[in-house]
């Protein structure tokens, strides 16, 4: 039998602290993204007395999405779909230009793991101390440090799940309800699930999520090409690696700084790897060492693989912008922009009064006893404002066709409460001798008008006569 085990325990990764411009960038991005995540639900937005005053609110119960001044109704879900498509195209664009920048800087898994590692370092010390602690026996000190760390992680995890639920209902009300245990069970359940996943993924699964659970490393390979800017090791400059006194000629002194700081536990000097999330911490670590030994920075650097032959030969490499601006990225940009412009246009032409007319086709027309012909329409009126409105319904061809509202006793007005859709059945009648009564199809347009606000909407449809 084989000498090695079929199953291996996880190799823990103990990333060392690192300083540098990419590390600073990551700190800033962490602060901004976490700030957005935790604070957004608390921004207030006055929409009037009948609508919620939360700037960003996904109101599942009333089926409304509020995003600052934009209110999205279920039938306008294409806005959300469009934004998701833009997010996808944006990811393609960034991946083809800069590799896995999403993974390295803004992916929630990366951001929270970074935060958890920060906590770990505060409590247990830097890499060497953590390695010692890991291998040490379970004494009181180890228990104390581990428990402290887990408690802080749990607190962050609870806050993570806790912030999520505020996007779905009024935040201050929910916070109060959560406090006195009267919130909806779904809120507690969501917090519990997100707490568990954050604690587990940020604390224990970390790089395992990126390697095993996330499909993105596999997909990204299709979006990168030799012009993509990725984190790479200039082996033509670094090799033969080793200490100076060993008579090695390369710049790499094999100090392992790049390996020790890597949150994925890989050695970038082995070349491009699926595990690499291009967070660039190895660049910071190597640049620091190069500075200390008096060599130029950039032994490990963001570079395009297509530059390798030129760099090896010592000739100038292609400028970065030429790598970034190439047909592939321009195409992604064009697609991204055109969808964005389309969405903006749709947003711009939207009104807060809408009318949808569905002719009842079962039957297409009803003959009345005096020979008149009647058509039935179901009219959906949407009042998207925060105030009740009185709407007047009419037709373009009032003199030929008569309009009656079901259950309104001849009245053509109806009141729609704030932020509401109403369904109104409407009868349109053609007098016996009018053309519309005998023509197969007559065009007609419904108008709805708010006389107070002078806002109108219309929809064209058809009238079916006796065939």
């Amino acid at each position: 039998m084989s000498s090695q085990s079929l199953y291996a325990a996880q190799e823990p990764v103990f990333p060392r602290r690192v300083k540098g411009k990419f590390r600073n960038l990551k700190w800033w991005i962490m602060a901004v993204t976490l700030g957005i995540y935790y604070l957004t639900p608390w921004i207030r937005w006055d929409r009037g007395p009948n609508l919620p005053d939360q700037a960003v609110l996904v109101d599942m119960a009333s089926r409304r999405f509020y995003f600052f001044w934009i209110e999205i109704w279920p039938h306008e879900f294409y806005f959300v779909a469009g934004l998701l498509i833009m997010a996808g195209l944006g990811l393609f664009l960034f991946t083809s230009a800069l590799g896995r920048v999403w993974c390295g800087y803004t992916c929630p898994q990366t951001v929270w793991t970074d935060l958890f590692i920060l906590v770990e370092r505060w409590i247990e010390g830097d890499r060497n101390a953590r390695v010692r602690l890991y291998h040490g026996e379970w004494n009181i000190r180890k228990w104390r440090l581990r428990l402290t760390k887990w408690v802080v992680w749990l607190a962050i995890a609870v806050a993570t799940g806790g912030a999520w639920v505020f996007y779905f209902t009024d935040a201050p009300t929910l916070l109060r309800d959560l406090g006195n245990y009267s919130a909806h069970p779904v809120a507690y359940g969501t917090i519990a699930i997100l707490t568990a996943t954050t604690f587990l993924f940020g604390g224990f699964a970390r790089e395992q999520i990126c390697i095993y659970a996330c499909p993105w490393p596999r997909i990204q390979a299709a979006m990168m090409d030799p012009d993509t800017i990725t984190v790479a090791y200039r082996d033509w400059r670094g090799e033969e690696r080793g200490k100076k006194h060993e008579n090695k000629t390369g710049d790499c002194i094999d100090c392992m700084a790049c390996v020790n700081v890597c949150p994925m536990g890989i050695d970038i000097r082995d070349g491009q790897q699926m595990e690499c999330i291009t967070c660039a911490l190895c660049i910071d670590a190597c640049d620091d060492v190069m500075g200390k030994i008096g060599k130029p920075r950039g032994l490990i650097d963001y570079l395009a693989l297509s530059d390798e032959p030129a760099e090896r030969a010592g000739t100038p490499a292609t400028p970065i912008w030429k790598h970034v601006l190439r047909p592939r990225t321009l195409l992604y940009t064009a697609m991204w922009v055109s969808i964005g412009v389309g969405l903006l246009y749709a947003l711009f032409i939207r009104t807060d009064l809408e009318l949808a007319v569905s002719p009842v086709r079962n039957p297409t027309y009803v003959l009345q006893s005096d020979g008149a012909v009647r058509n039935i329409y179901d009219i959906r009126l949407r009042n998207k404002t925060g105030d009740a409105r009185i709407l007047h319904l009419s037709l373009t061809s009032d003199e030929i066709l008569r309009i009656d509202l079901e259950g309104r006793d001849g009245l053509r007005q109806l009141e729609i409460p704030a932020d509401t859709t109403i369904l109104q059945r409407v009868y349109v009648t053609a007098r016996p001798n009018d053309a519309a009564a005998s023509l197969h199809i007559t065009d007609l347009t419904f108008w709805v008008e708010d006389l107070d606000a002078n806002v109108r909407a219309n929809q064209a449809t058809t009238f079916n006569g006796r065939e």
């Binding site: 199953y7 291996a8 006893s369 020979g371």
Partner: protein
């Protein structure tokens, strides 16, 4: 195992599989992955004990939790009925003719009546209530027995021309083929045609007028406008239950018609009868 190959580069055994010169390393699987697999197996066993899972010759194991999706639906229905309980009580007490069309109660009644209609009435009157030959169109403003709420409810509850209910509406036209000559019937048909059609034979219609007054006016009225108390249709309007062309009219006069509707009061709950009345009244022809 005969010959273990070890990859020189990594020092790891290979599985012996080679594709295009690429060899597969036999790297160990992560231990946590193994434990996750074990946990899933335990979960699957527990699940198949707790819930219906194993197919048997007839049906399946029921599971110790006693769960069934049918039971879940029954719970949902019970929950909705409990939610509507207030409306049900209110609806039982309300005077239908006085029901406010804009009220929640009316919406409830129309929705409930609509579903009853589609289940019980659409077979004859059509899913859109437009009826057909011999089955009245409920969307127009022509009513044999009256189109106000009370008349509609009465027709639905007791039915038309059935022997099962003493209060059923009943009208019967004689088959005139046994009473009149064919020529006389043709004259009556021509007279009836003249009431609503522009083209007719004036001489025949003239003769039909007299015959109509003698034979038909007692039920259909002197001006042929019908009589709702007798269920006699208006013959002067544009609506025909069995067709308004000469051929159909002649058949009707000769043989008479005898449409039957069940007494729904015997089959539906009182609330369902009332709800379907509200629904029919709301279709646009209600008076």
């Amino acid at each position: 195992m005969s010959d273990l190959k070890v990859d020189e580069e990594t020092g790891v055994e290979t599985t012996g599989h080679v594709w295009d010169g690429i060899e597969e390393l036999n790297n160990p699987l992560p231990r946590w992955w193994l434990w996750t697999l074990y946990a899933c197996i335990v979960w699957a066993i527990a699940y198949s004990i707790a819930y219906p899972a194993w197919p048997m010759l007839s049906g399946a194991t029921s599971g110790v939790l006693g769960y069934s999706s049918r039971g879940e639906v029954a719970e949902d229905i019970a929950a909705h009925e409990a939610k509507n309980q207030g409306l049900v009580v209110e609806f039982a007490a309300v005077e239908l003719a006085a029901l406010d069309p804009a009220s929640d109660l009316n919406r409830y009644a129309v929705a409930r009546g609509g579903s009853v209609f589609r289940a019980q009435c659409s077979q004859c009157h059509g899913s859109g209530a437009a009826g057909g030959v011999g089955y009245p169109n409920l969307l127009d403003n022509d009513w044999l027995w009256g189109g106000d709420m009370d008349n509609i409810t009465h027709s639905i509850r007791h039915g038309i021309r059935n022997d099962t209910d003493d209060d059923a509406r009943y009208s019967e036209m004689p088959a005139f083929s046994e009473i009149l000559e064919t020529e006389e019937i043709d004259a009556i048909v021509e007279y009836v045609t003249s009431l609503s059609m522009p083209e007719f034979d004036a001489g025949m219609a003239e003769m039909g007028t007299v015959l109509f007054q003698d034979n038909c006016a007692s039920c259909h009225g002197e001006k042929a406008t019908g009589d709702r108390d007798l269920g006699a249709p208006n013959l002067a309007d544009a609506i025909w239950l069995y067709g308004g062309d000469r051929e159909a009219l002649k058949y009707t006069v000769e043989n008479a018609r005898f449409g039957v509707m069940p007494a729904w009061g015997q089959r539906l709950t009182d609330a369902d009868v009332r709800a379907v009345s509200v629904y029919v009244h709301s279709l646009g022809g209600g008076e």
